[in-house]
């Protein structure tokens, strides 16, 4: 049976275990970010690139950036950060690089893989522009260049602080010193951080990483036991420890100022006199060394800036194929076979080995050969740190595919470098290779890992931007005139259509009124009908034909009757002469001249119709005049 005390202990253990595992559970997935300080730079201008890997565990190697042709990259250091916020721990490592464009254009850094704690992380392709308005090939460092009186003297063997350097506390300070202050581009400089202390001191790393813009950087690993010795400076004994060593390779001639960053150390307050007080010096373990419960003080130590002058390569004797390699090197080359078939690939492996900045070595140039198709294959670097000298070997592979049978030759390839010790250029050659090529109809097959020729083709790069050129011919005015005319025409059309629309509305309104009042419609249209008939009758009145004369009076009778019946709203079919006479009499009176005239017209019409007398031309004219007069009078009276 579990006792209460045991149960309580178990519960406390569970809570502890949960608290300990919680941060692990909450830890974010590893991810990689690429951060540029700018996406556009001039030729020769530096672009700072930071690759931040966060959430990864274990040792992370500096990623190798596959830079396109025309761009150079330089690794400038790393920094680590660990934060613990709201129970979530975030560890991140930042690798800093400098990219320098050597020609204008748009460059795309392709996606590449970064190994972090056994996980392969992939970056996104990133594009940035290098413009033509540049600084030339001699890029100025980002750090502010400070005027120098001349090349600085080599640093002294005993690394005392420079005369101008005044530490806040002369019992503890850091000196950043270089082994050379005047160098050639790509020549190694060793930067050493030495901590001088008279306190009981614990070194806690860099709180601010150094700024070494303009340098390709390689760190030397620290020994398990940091080297330390005792020195006397200005008569005082100090413990001196070399806490960091970095190899620097300047990228271009200029005067550089290295800002060495800030170091963090914790000390016990009182300067110690005895040698034994340095026992826990550089003990990284927080719990060991007995320092945990003692009262300590944190110090930020800022070394003095370091000036370096990088002078250009001598022009005298510079080989045409010199590509910036500096150091001492050896070169070997070997082919994987010397007897091949036509279209069968032969791989030439070139190895350059020695001391210097191996990473930046470039492949010896391969001339164009009409008998071969040539493909560049992989290159690999094996970096070595021998003491405090960076070296190693770099291997290049070039694939040759012979196109013709017979004896073929791969010529000697050359590689030039500058030896800073002798200040001379040296040129190395590979041996020439003779290939015996047998005839074959087989198609060429590229070795594995080699990309297809299509992928090797270079993309057209935009080399700069400028305004478009002036127009040398004025514009055609026809289009502009047509637009103006079209607008005018459309205005006119719209006006006319609006008028037609208004007329349509009036017509519709009138039709509605006439639909309600039929008599009004008849009265309104009586004159129009009479006028139409009048013009017809006029034509008929001119005829001499007796039949036509009879038809004239017949039509006149109809027209007059229709007009009067319309005006008096009588049915045209039932209107009689008598009813019309009564209506006229009611309007005009029996004594009115027109009353008598109308009756006369009717008499004439009857005479002509029933043949009691042929109506003469005078009668026709008179009858027509009376009809016209009737219309005029009644239009006025019955308005």
């Amino acid at each position: 049976m579990i006792t209460t005390a045991r149960r309580a202990r178990l519960a406390v253990f569970c809570i502890f275990a949960a608290l300990l595992t919680l941060p692990v559970m909450l830890r974010a997935e590893p991810e990689v970010d690429m951060i540029f300080n700018t996406r556009q730079a001039a030729v020769g201008q530096e672009v700072a690139l930071t690759i931040r890997i966060s959430g990864a565990q274990g040792n992370i190697q500096a990623p190798h950036i596959p830079v396109p042709d025309g761009l150079e990259s330089f690794y400038t250091g790393r920094s680590s950060n660990l934060s613990f916020v709201n129970g979530v721990s975030t560890a991140s490592v930042e690798f800093s690089y400098v990219l320098v464009g050597r020609r204008p254009g748009s460059f795309t850094l392709p996606a590449f893989e970064v190994q972090a704690g056994g996980i392969n992380l992939k970056t996104e392709p990133v594009t940035f522009e290098v413009t033509g308005q540049g600084l030339g090939t001699a890029a100025a460092p980002r750090a502010p260049a400070q005027p120098q009186a001349g090349p600085l003297a080599p640093a002294s063997a005993v690394q005392e602080p420079p005369a101008t350097f005044r530490p806040e506390d002369d019992n503890i300070y850091v000196v950043a010193a270089v082994d050379k202050t005047t160098v050639y581009p790509n020549e190694q400089i060793k930067l050493t951080y030495s901590l001088y202390t008279r306190y009981d001191t614990r070194y806690e790393g860099f709180s601010e990483e150094p700024e070494m813009s303009g340098f390709w950087i390689e760190e030397f690993p620290l020994d398990k036991e940091i080297r330390r010795d005792t020195v006397r400076v200005h008569g005082k004994p100090y413990v001196r420890a070399e806490i960091r060593q970095i190899a620097l390779f300047p990228t271009a001639p200029a005067d550089y100022t290295i800002k060495p960053g800030t170091l963090k150390a914790s000390i016990r307050q009182e300067p110690q006199q005895s040698q034994s007080v340095f026992d826990e010096f550089f003990n990284d373990s927080f719990f060991s060394g007995g320092g945990f419960f003692s009262r300590r003080e944190n110090r930020l130590l800022k070394p003095a800036e370091v000036q370096i002058k990088v002078i250009p390569f001598p022009e005298e004797g510079k080989p045409a194929n010199f590509n910036g390699a500096v150091g001492t090197f050896r070169m070997t080359a070997v082919t994987d076979k010397d007897q091949v078939k036509q279209n069968e690939p032969v791989t030439l492996k070139i190895q350059i080995e020695g001391e210097g900045n191996i990473e930046t070595l470039k492949k010896p140039g391969v001339p164009e050969m009409k008998n071969f198709k040539i493909y560049e294959s992989d290159s690999s670097t094996d970096l070595a740190k021998n003491g405090f000298v960076i070296g190693g070997k770099k291997t290049f592979e070039v694939v040759f595919i012979p196109l013709e049978a017979g004896e073929q030759f791969i010529p000697k390839l050359s590689f030039s470098y500058f030896d800073p010790r002798t200040r001379q250029y040296q040129t190395l050659f590979t041996p020439g290779f003779k290939l015996s090529v047998a005839e074959s109809k087989e198609a060429s097959v590229l070795p594995k890992g080699l990309v297809s020729p299509e992928d090797l083709k270079k993309e057209i790069a935009k080399e700069g931007q400028d305004i478009h050129y002036i127009a040398e011919r004025p514009e055609s005015s026809a289009a502009r005139a047509a637009a103006g005319n079209a607008a005018r025409v459309l205005w006119l059309l719209n006006g006319l259509v609006l008028l037609a629309l208004a007329a349509g509305f009036l017509r519709q309104r009138q039709a509605q009124v006439f639909a309600k009042d039929g008599a009004l419609k008849r009265r309104k249209y009586a004159r129009a009908n009479a006028v139409t008939k009048l013009s017809l009758l006029k034509k008929m009145s001119r005829s001499d034909d007796s039949k036509e004369a009879a038809r004239f009076f017949e039509e006149l009778d109809k027209a007059l009757t229709l007009y009067l019946s319309d005006k008096f709203n009588l049915s045209a079919f039932s209107a009689t002469r008598h009813s019309l006479e009564k209506e006229i009499e009611a309007v005009l009176g029996r004594e009115h001249e027109l009353y008598r005239d109308v009756l006369k017209v009717y008499v004439l019409c009857e005479e002509a119709r029933f043949g009691r007398g042929a109506a003469s031309a005078e009668h026709r004219h008179e009858a027509l005049a009376i009809f016209k007069k009737t219309v005029d009078v009644f239009e006025k009276i019955l308005k």
Partner: protein
């Protein structure tokens, strides 16, 4: 048998047919025989060639003077403004260059050369103003910036003619019938096109674009030297004039900031 009255076609009256024919004949005559744009005189033609020659010889100052004269004589010609912009750009007068490009863009809003040079000149400016306007305002301005006022007017007039014409024909030939889908569609088209025209009109006449012409210009809280400085603008930046006094203009930026600037420090695009 029942006759579908609504579908029955009524032959238009002869008067109406003749009227329509007359209208279209007159319109066609006006369209093709109307007033053509002013062509370059021989003297101006040679002035243009001379300015081009000076430009080619890197004599941008003199070339700019020639283009300026031509631009004033032919205000509807975008080529002169474009070339003037190029000459001013070469002289590093970013304000004058952008002003000329903006003027050229108003005349030929879809010219790729003008747009490219304007964008390039803008990209070279030292200052930028963050555009905080809504996306639809930006999209609307961009769209309206691709058409001229005449083109939008033609669209509105055409839409009006189609709508009014269809209504008139319906009134004369099929009076009393309800509005069908085609006529409703034409009405919407007409209303939209009128709205576009109104927007373009407001954009060009009421909210007037202006360019800062001095290296640095102070924008104040009020229209006097005594008022406090609100912010400073750099040469070539575009502002919108929303009010104008004798010596001062009230301007607004695309980020919403407002203030008063001296008229001598800006130049309106549609002067």
């Amino acid at each position: 048998m029942k006759i579908n009255q609504s579908r029955a076609f009524v032959r238009p009256p002869a008067v109406l047919r003749m009227t329509v024919f007359a209208i279209f004949s007159a319109a066609a005559a006006l369209l093709f025989c109307g007033q053509a744009g002013a062509a370059l005189s021989a003297a101006d033609q040679s002035l243009f060639q001379e300015a081009n020659r000076l430009y080619r010889g890197d004599k941008y100052e003199q070339a700019a003077q020639g283009y300026q004269k031509l631009a004033e004589a032919y205000p509807e010609e975008s080529v002169f403004q474009f070339n003037l912009g190029n000459a001013q750009f070469r002289l590093k007068h970013s304000g004058a260059a952008i002003l000329a490009y903006e003027k050229a863009r108003m005349l030929s809003p879809r010219s790729r050369d003008i747009r490219a040079n304007l964008n390039f000149a803008l990209s070279q400016l030292e200052y930028r103003v963050e555009d905080k306007r809504s996306w639809y305002v930006r999209a609307g301005e961009d769209w309206l910036g691709r058409v001229t006022e005449t083109e939008v007017l033609i669209l509105a007039l055409l839409a009006g003619f189609l709508f009014l014409g269809s209504w008139t024909l319906a009134l004369w030939l099929r009076a009393g019938r309800p509005w069908g889908v085609p006529r409703k569609t034409l009405l919407i088209f007409f209303m939209v096109s009128v709205a576009i025209f109104a927007a373009k009109r407001i954009e060009t006449r009421m909210i007037r674009d202006a360019i800062v012409m001095t290296k640095q210009a102070e924008v104040r809280f009020g229209p006097s030297e005594g008022d406090r400085v609100a912010f400073r603008l750099g040469e070539g930046l575009k502002v919108y004039v929303i009010d104008r006094r004798q010596d001062w203009s009230r301007i607004v930026l695309v980020n919403g900031d407002e203030g008063w600037i001296q008229n001598s420090k800006i130049a309106e695009v549609l002067a």
